[in-house]
Symmetry: C2
Subunit: 327 residues, 2 copies
Amino acid sequence: MRIIYDCTGADQGAEAVLAGIQSYLEDHSLEGILLGLKEELEPLLPKYPEVAKRFRSEYVTEVILNTDEPAFAIRRKKDSAIVKGMRLLKEGAADGFISAGSTGGLLAGGLFLLGRLPNVSRAVLPVYLPSSTGGFLLLDSGANMDCTPEQLLSFGKLGTVYAREVLGIDDPKVALLNVGAEPGKGNEQVKKAFELFSNAPFHFIGNMEARDAFFKDVDVLVTDGFAGNVMLKNTEGVAMFVTGVFHRALEKFGADDETFLKKSGGALREVKKLLDYSEYGGAPLLGLKAPVIKAHGSSDSTAFKNATRQLKNFLDQEVISKFQQEG
Amino acid sequence: MRIIYDCTGADQGAEAVLAGIQSYLEDHSLEGILLGLKEELEPLLPKYPEVAKRFRSEYVTEVILNTDEPAFAIRRKKDSAIVKGMRLLKEGAADGFISAGSTGGLLAGGLFLLGRLPNVSRAVLPVYLPSSTGGFLLLDSGANMDCTPEQLLSFGKLGTVYAREVLGIDDPKVALLNVGAEPGKGNEQVKKAFELFSNAPFHFIGNMEARDAFFKDVDVLVTDGFAGNVMLKNTEGVAMFVTGVFHRALEKFGADDETFLKKSGGALREVKKLLDYSEYGGAPLLGLKAPVIKAHGSSDSTAFKNATRQLKNFLDQEVISKFQQEG
């Protein structure tokens, strides 16, 4: 497997990427290209000799920031890891690309430089949220603001393939995010999508309210990037708010916060996942011609290792060719 | 003050309404009309002699259910409390209407039977959510699915008047729910609304992400009824989910749930509010020609008393005429 890594996008710097690759190399073979700023990457390489041996370094001089306007940045910052990475991926220099850089930059780069699959009208960014029945894939989580019912249908197909092939869920259950469970509910977009979904080749279980997604059995929850992003960020906000209230309650109760966390152990792990939903691995961009994984900005070496595993799974299951058949 | 009460819509039955009115009557004067099913209401009246003395009872034979299609139900169930209540309100038989019945039924009844204010294009349903800076009014919370930017502007105006006059907030801060804080973010609807809001007669503070609404200083958060309802129900779902996780953690920690709740006291009250957002009073329908308060289906006598207080405030502050001036 050959992977391109963006070493300019992680909050923790290029070392988190190198340490993640080195950890992966302990059990697996891997080679590829490191894209980084010379002054940052070059001094680190002697510390990671296995990585330096198997990877070629290419230096860039620019970084696309979260505050940059994505489409503009892709045109102007040609010597950035995102632009170079997408170009190299398109040329076949590697099998996949992992970056913790700007989500917007990756999407714009993916669309303009790498390109969509011919049967897919939009690339989509799913996010996996935990729930009391395990968890569900919410897509789109913010890549596409205005979507047609046909595009929502495409998200349902891409989400189904991804849930089945990468998450290992047999016959994934797909629902439409809506304001009520009954058919006929919702805005014009969702009402039309409901009809398309009812005749779709995937396992459609109907409309679902945001509340129920955390308690009912659903694997893929489809919505446009506006409502999806509202739901995602609201999830984070409410989880933070409720956690804060509980911590104050614990204080009043007289329980030491640290002792509580230690004794209650794994019980709070699910809340941590809600608070930092993409820490665990990364979010794939679905619908592009080659696999691109967006790692969380705050990713550490473990997160980069997990993103690498995720990419391997993506390649092993031939997800791209299944998208072409079923997308 | 003369109020019409729907005694058919509360999960706890007509007695919750009567007990709420009786409790309000201990400190205030009040008269009006009770709309109820004869077999339920008539036997209760002797238990509430003060209420029976000041209120006229009118019996109905039908109830509009949450599962009924609202516009259809309004036309077909003419002998329901919602239809009768709206008609009586329109005729001037009372100053306001309180019902815990079907939200859709009340909205349809409000629009078709009572009517909108001439300068308002849609009636809107706000909901008040707690936050770490106090709380904020989210509107629309689900009455209007597809909204134009101009309608969002109208929601901003109605929300401003309501927050100032009824909630007592000086110069309420209004934000647009969006996927990012920067101008230029969002779907076409929100981008256009941003321009309108920038020149609006209220205190517009910009775009706001759902996450930030729980931590930043905002009084009125404007969105369409689809995204608003997703946010509202997601808030409930995540709060329930996180609360469940904490309860399991408490168990593992060895703290008795009840003792914990008692000792930590008021600290958890905010979570309860998130879980049952409209328990405290009710949600007003803004933009109609007369005040209508939608009480929560699970309202008890305290909730009906609070809804009555809210309606008094609404009338005292002459909110309807301010809507006409500023709406």
